[in-house]
């Protein structure tokens, strides 16, 4: 596939507005603002293209925009670009923002025009100091050339974009946590409904979209919904997509391909990750970030990397963060590492999540250290079942149970070996007792 989202990455001065304009940038904004294309027509085009959210949930951007009330009763409408990118294994938005900031800014201008937003924000995770600086500079350039600010390109449309830095909290990636955070509060998710499109930030209608989603919007407006729909496996899973692959592969990185790229191709393909380091076998693959249930080596055959393809395997595409784990890794140790993350990042509002996440971590630590009991294995599954399925305010708890539940189900023998033999089944620690 021809590169779309990453087409300009690697080019000289790809961040500057001059090279962006030379490459045909901002023509979409020019056309929309001067041709009399209405906001409704922009929404219609994005709806038609079925741009599914690249932040994790895969919800159609156009449909979400359509939920905005027709009459906001004098309230403004806000757009937040979700650049919190904190899901372990995910690093695509960082690449987009650091290398081609104007692509995102143009996507935000078009989205803001469509939803009638006057003030948009980029909520960028605190660790992306460079990303924030690069965006600030690019936004400054866009103001100077008249693509941002009052009456853009002489039209009646005005827009300000502000970079808002987070400060270290994974939960602020959840859209209502993000909204709370931008209001100057703890980033604790809100009970839904009301959904943000009806009542979000400052009690006004709010749209939250991921960086990559907004970049896709730019290309849909440039080249049309028909073009977008032709890329990918089918019309429900369409468009260019960035895949983040890391772990035990030869060439980890961000790769752009059509939605539906076979998972095996991403791992073994010559233009992608080029197979396993040291020629080792695959034990497990996490297909969509820390929150996605693991797949076994057998399950990765015939798995298209798109929303419905990965869902059909009982997992999820999520943020398209593919973590590949080789045969030498201890699965209990992997689950323990992931559980540690969730136990630190629970925002603490809901009892099942606040109590459940550290409990899972504790039990996994015990089993990993060779101090577990057989009942602990079933205990893990029981804790998971008590945390999931709508027991909590947000789906963080459902995410947190994915690693232990999927690994206990699929790699039970390794857990049992830890309990009975007090050592790992595989890897460097298989020969030694792991207990202290």
């Amino acid at each position: 596939m021809e590169k779309v989202l990453t087409a300009r990455i690697g080019k000289k001065d790809s961040r500057s507005i001059d090279t962006y304009l030379a490459d045909g940038g901002y023509t979409g904004v020019k056309r929309v603002l001067t041709s009399g294309m209405t906001p409704e027509q922009v929404i219609e085009e994005v709806k038609k293209a079925n741009v599914r959210g690249r932040g994790g949930a895969g919800f159609s951007a156009g449909v979400k925009w359509g939920f905005l009330p027709k009459d906001t009763k004098g309230k403004p409408i806000y757009l937040f670009c979700n650049a919190d990118e904190s899901e372990p294994g995910t690093f695509k938005d960082r690449l987009l923002m650091e290398n081609d900031p104007h692509q995102l800014i143009e996507g935000m201008i078009l989205a803001s025009y469509a939803i009638r937003c006057r003030n948009a924000y980029i909520y960028i995770r605190g660790e992306f100091y460079d990303g924030a600086r690069i965006l600030e500079r690019a936004i400054g350039e866009a103001y100077a050339k008249g693509y941002l600010g009052e009456k853009i390109l002489g039209s009646r449309f005005s827009l300000d974009i502000t970079v808002h830095r987070g400060a270290g909290a994974y939960i602020c990636g959840e859209e209502t946590g993000l909204i709370e955070s931008i209001e100057g509060k703890r980033g604790q998710p809100r009970i839904k409904p009301p959904f943000p499109a009806v009542s979000g930030a400052f009690a006004a209608p709010t749209i939250v979209n991921n960086v990559e989603t907004l970049c896709c919007v730019k290309h849909v407006i440039d080249r049309g919904a028909e073009w977008f729909l032709k890329i990918g496996r089918n019309e429900k899973n369409a468009g260019p997509k960035l895949f983040c692959i890391s772990g035990h592969v030869n060439r980890p990185g961000v790769y752009e391909a059509a939605m539906g790229l076979p998972l095996k191709d991403l791992i073994f393909g010559a233009e992608y990750a080029q197979g396993m380091k040291g020629g080792k076998k695959i034990k497990a693959v996490i297909p969509g970030g820390a929150s996605a249930p693991m797949l076994t080596a057998a399950e990765i055959d015939d798995c298209p990397l798109d929303f419905d393809g990965v869902a059909a395997k009982g997992s999820m595409l999520g943020s398209a963060a593919i973590v590949v784990i080789n045969e030498d890794a201890c699965i209990v140790d992997v689950a323990k590492n992931l559980s540690k993350f969730f136990s630190h990042e629970s925002c603490g509002q809901c009892t099942p999540c606040r109590e459940g996440t550290p409990w899972l971590y504790k039990v996994l630590t015990r089993i990993e250290a060779g101090q577990g009991r057989m009942e602990d294995i079933d205990l893990l599954a029981r804790i998971c079942n008590q945390m999931a399925n709508g027991m909590t305010i947000c789906v963080f708890a459902d995410a947190a149970i994915a690693p232990p539940l999927s690994s206990v189900t699929k790699f039970r023998a390794e857990y049992e070996h830890h309990v009975t033999q007090k050592r790992c089944l595989v890897g460097a620690r298989a020969a030694e007792l792991v207990t202290v």
Partner: protein
């Protein structure tokens, strides 16, 4: 992201934002519909001004934003990147999340601590280094990944770590 959520803030000296910080804050306030919404950015200004945010600095932020100090405290302690006590000149942040973990992050972290003679969340006696463990910093393709203050260093290995620490130690 360190893991010391909800920790108690330490006391420091009385604080007033210097004029250049106030000028930045005035500009920040123009970008938001409410004063409270400027809280995270203003806390960043406080941290850039003083290196860490003491109880008194938090009170100063509360004053300029017309917020109750208890609200500022609650927010400050929720986010892990605000330093609630002084940190060394070089804040070493080693990622130990999954992709870095699979690529040897723990031994990197251990080596770092051994070489500097400090544990997690500790600062060397000369005030040069503080060591913390962080969660995925979106450098997983260049694992193991770490940051020193606002800069990424990736991919890391023992040799590169030694060279980095040597260089930073030599700096004034």
């Amino acid at each position: 992201m360190s893991h010391t959520r909800y920790r108690v803030m330490e006391a420091g000296e009385a604080r007033r934002f210097p004029p250049e910080a106030m000028a930045r804050i005035e500009k920040i306030l123009t970008r938001y519909p409410t004063k409270q919404a400027a809280l995270l950015p203003v806390l960043w200004v406080a941290q850039e001004t003083w290196g860490w945010i003491s109880k008194e600095a938090g009170e100063e932020v509360a004053r300029v934003l017309d917020l109750p100090p208890s609200h500022v405290d609650g927010v400050l302690t929720f986010y892990t990147m605000y330093n609630l006590r002084p940190v060394g000149k070089h804040l070493l942040q080693v990622c130990t999340s999954i992709s870095c973990h699979l690529n040897g992050a723990e031994s990197l972290l251990e080596r770092c601590g051994k070489r500097l003679g400090i544990g997690l969340e500790e600062t060397t006696a000369d005030g040069k280094f503080t060591l913390v463990e962080v969660e995925c910093i979106a450098g997983c393709d260049r694992a193991p990944s770490m940051m020193v203050n606002d800069q990424y260093f990736e991919p890391m290995d023992a040799g590169k770590l030694d060279a980095l620490l040597d260089r930073l130690s030599r700096e004034a």
